[in-house]
Symmetry: C2
Subunit: 373 residues, 2 copies
């Protein structure tokens, strides 16, 4: 089901908006109060491009929340469930933000941009207010803002070649989530090894919103010999690879133990942070639910538009499907679900309530496809 | 320019979604991570319905943030720039939320639902995290949550008759923003005198998301003799009447003095609240900008998709248009703009940079049309 969306000033256009329109953008979503392309008219072609060559994505909607000032380290440490004291400038860390009840409220990448300046590269919730609310309540000496920074992702097996052609072979030595500030013919940006796919990838953090089309055009030109074309965060590839979509997979109240992301939460080694006591309690009691994979019986499904209820064979409520898609590489229906712990074991038989009726399903391990698979 | 938007689980469907699809919804926006209808195929008909008879709007995306518990009053008072101690259960107040720098971050209606329970009925930013961040930092004994509450608006001159037919004539005595809890054939809801138009209006706060279609159908049936039909928050009517659209008119950094909303900020009478010191400083120094009306020369414009730059006749930057529309009742182009104070006097001649080129304009007073006008 597709509706029209009429642009208006409450929702922002990305610096790459004109370029994506010129490239044939047909569909959008809204993410952090900004339009983000989701399709250019041929999903199959865009999927193959991501898996086999290289795609460029307008992910400017992945906004940065900057924390700057004398209390920046202190504030960041209060929010992040790992020790940030040893982070170096130019490093990034996956930083799960939890509220006081242990609920996961965003899953940004934290970038240390300077000794007294950090960026949270955020998923789709207004973390600026969370960060600023804590700072305001405590009277901390920090400035919380959203700088003029707009990532452009280059994703796919040929991405390193494209980015090396643009910036040099040093980019091949960047560790995951590491970044370096540079420019491209005077366009100020940061090159980061990052991206919301399980393919090789980089993100260019454009630092001047007036240069969006310039950057897009240069990336397209450099990518031409490598088979580049437009694309977007891909719901099938992310499901196959088990990338978390905050908001789709987590709403309204999931915690890191349920989501299987406790490895990123250093409850015993990190200094105090908001949510620590609640997460300790959840660890002690054991999570009530678990994020798992499901194989859903044929025929082939369209990508799910809603969270779908899951029942056990007797009809009792057992959990919720976050996302269901037809896997292109596996040629069967796959889903990610948050299941009550009693129904989370691999091999458990279940019934998924799709909008077209019930469909048999079976629990399986995640991810469906390993990186490089 | 219209794009397709493909529903997905990250963005929620309203409890009225099926009913609005059945009613012919053609266009949506995204507001508080939820689809909200913006059109049913004929803008002129929908405008006339709002001005002349009565329209029903799915505004479930106007989410409620509940603050409940022993410290609820204390927390609310820290956030709201007016004295809340004398509010009674059943009363509502327009409550402007400011950050520590005095920036307006949301303009909700605050409802006192019980002695230790308040709802912020919010505009399009995640105020749950602002409220919860302050509470978490101070260790307050409150629970911050988003309850299962979804407003349905009934707006237009015949709205009181429709709502009286449904609930009784007592609704005619409700003061503005006042509300009462009741039910409709067992559908739990609150009736509030409220709504984002300058016409007469009510909002039904549905308190059971599974009953959306039931409520929609009952309202439609009751409204039939009064000329009811589907509609949506109307960009032309709101501009004519000068209703603030947070996010469109305020981004990124406007304060209540610039927006002409200082009457709702009781700097001298309210207890301390976040932003008070910054707002006092702004008052002393005087605002740098001012929200004004503009008449823009013919020919007729389409509603603006972006904030447009405004220059003075010499070409110097002078301000920004928030929204420009063709006024149907005035039969000329009107706009709301945030102008540098030197260019804000009524009668000032200016040049608006539309996407189709420059257009002469003149500053005028707001609103363009008085309530009942």
């Amino acid at each position: 089901m597709t509706f029209g969306i009429t642009p208006g000033p409450r929702i922002r256009k990305s610096p790459y908006f004109d370029a994506t329109v010129a490239a044939g953008m047909t569909d959008v979503t809204v993410y952090n109060h900004m339009y983000m392309p989701t399709g250019f008219g041929d999903f199959g072609v865009e999927y193959r491009r991501l898996i086999e060559t290289v795609a460029v994505w307008d992910v400017a909607a992945e906004r940065q929340i900057q924390v700057a000032g004398p209390d920046a380290v202190r504030l960041v440490q209060m929010l992040v469930p790992r020790d940030v004291s040893k982070m170096k400038v130019g490093q990034g860390r996956y930083a799960l933000l939890n509220d006081a009840n242990g609920r996961l409220i965003n899953d940004p990448v934290l970038l240390k941009v300077a000794d007294d300046r950090y960026w949270f590269s955020i998923a789709d919730s207004d973390m600026e207010y969370w960060v600023a609310g804590v700072a305001a309540a405590l009277g901390l000496d920090v400035e919380v803002s959203e700088p003029d920074v707009s990532p452009l992702a280059i994703q796919g097996p040929n991405a390193p070649d494209v980015v090396a052609d643009l910036f040099g072979d040093w980019i091949r030595d960047l560790k995951y989530f590491a970044f370096r500030q540079t420019d491209l013919d005077g366009i100020p940006l940061m090159v980061a090894r990052s991206g919301w796919s399980k393919q090789a990838g980089f993100e260019l953090y454009l630092m001047d919103g007036s240069r969006g089309s310039d950057l897009w055009d240069r990336v397209m030109s450099a990518g031409l010999p490598h088979g580049i074309g437009p694309g977007a965060p891909n719901v099938v590839e992310r499901t196959e690879g088990d990338l978390l979509s905050w908001g789709a997979d987590t709403r309204p109240d999931a915690n890191v133990f349920e989501l299987g992301m406790e490895a990123y939460v250093h409850l015993d080694m990190a200094p105090d942070f908001i949510g620590k006591a609640a997460l300790r309690r959840i660890r002690e009691e054991g999570p009530k639910r678990r994020r798992v994979g499901l194989f859903i019986d044929p025929p082939s499904l369209s990508p799910s538009e809603d969270n779908w209820p899951v029942h056990d064979p007797s009809g009792a409520a057992a959990g919720t499907v976050s996302i269901a898609v037809p896997s292109i590489r596996l040629e069967r229906n796959i889903a990610i679900a948050l299941m009550d712990i009693a129904h989370a074991a691999v091999g458990t038989r279940l019934v998924v309530q799709t909008p077209d009726g019930p469909r048999d399903a079976e629990v399986t391990a995640l991810p469906f496809i390993q990186p490089g698979g």
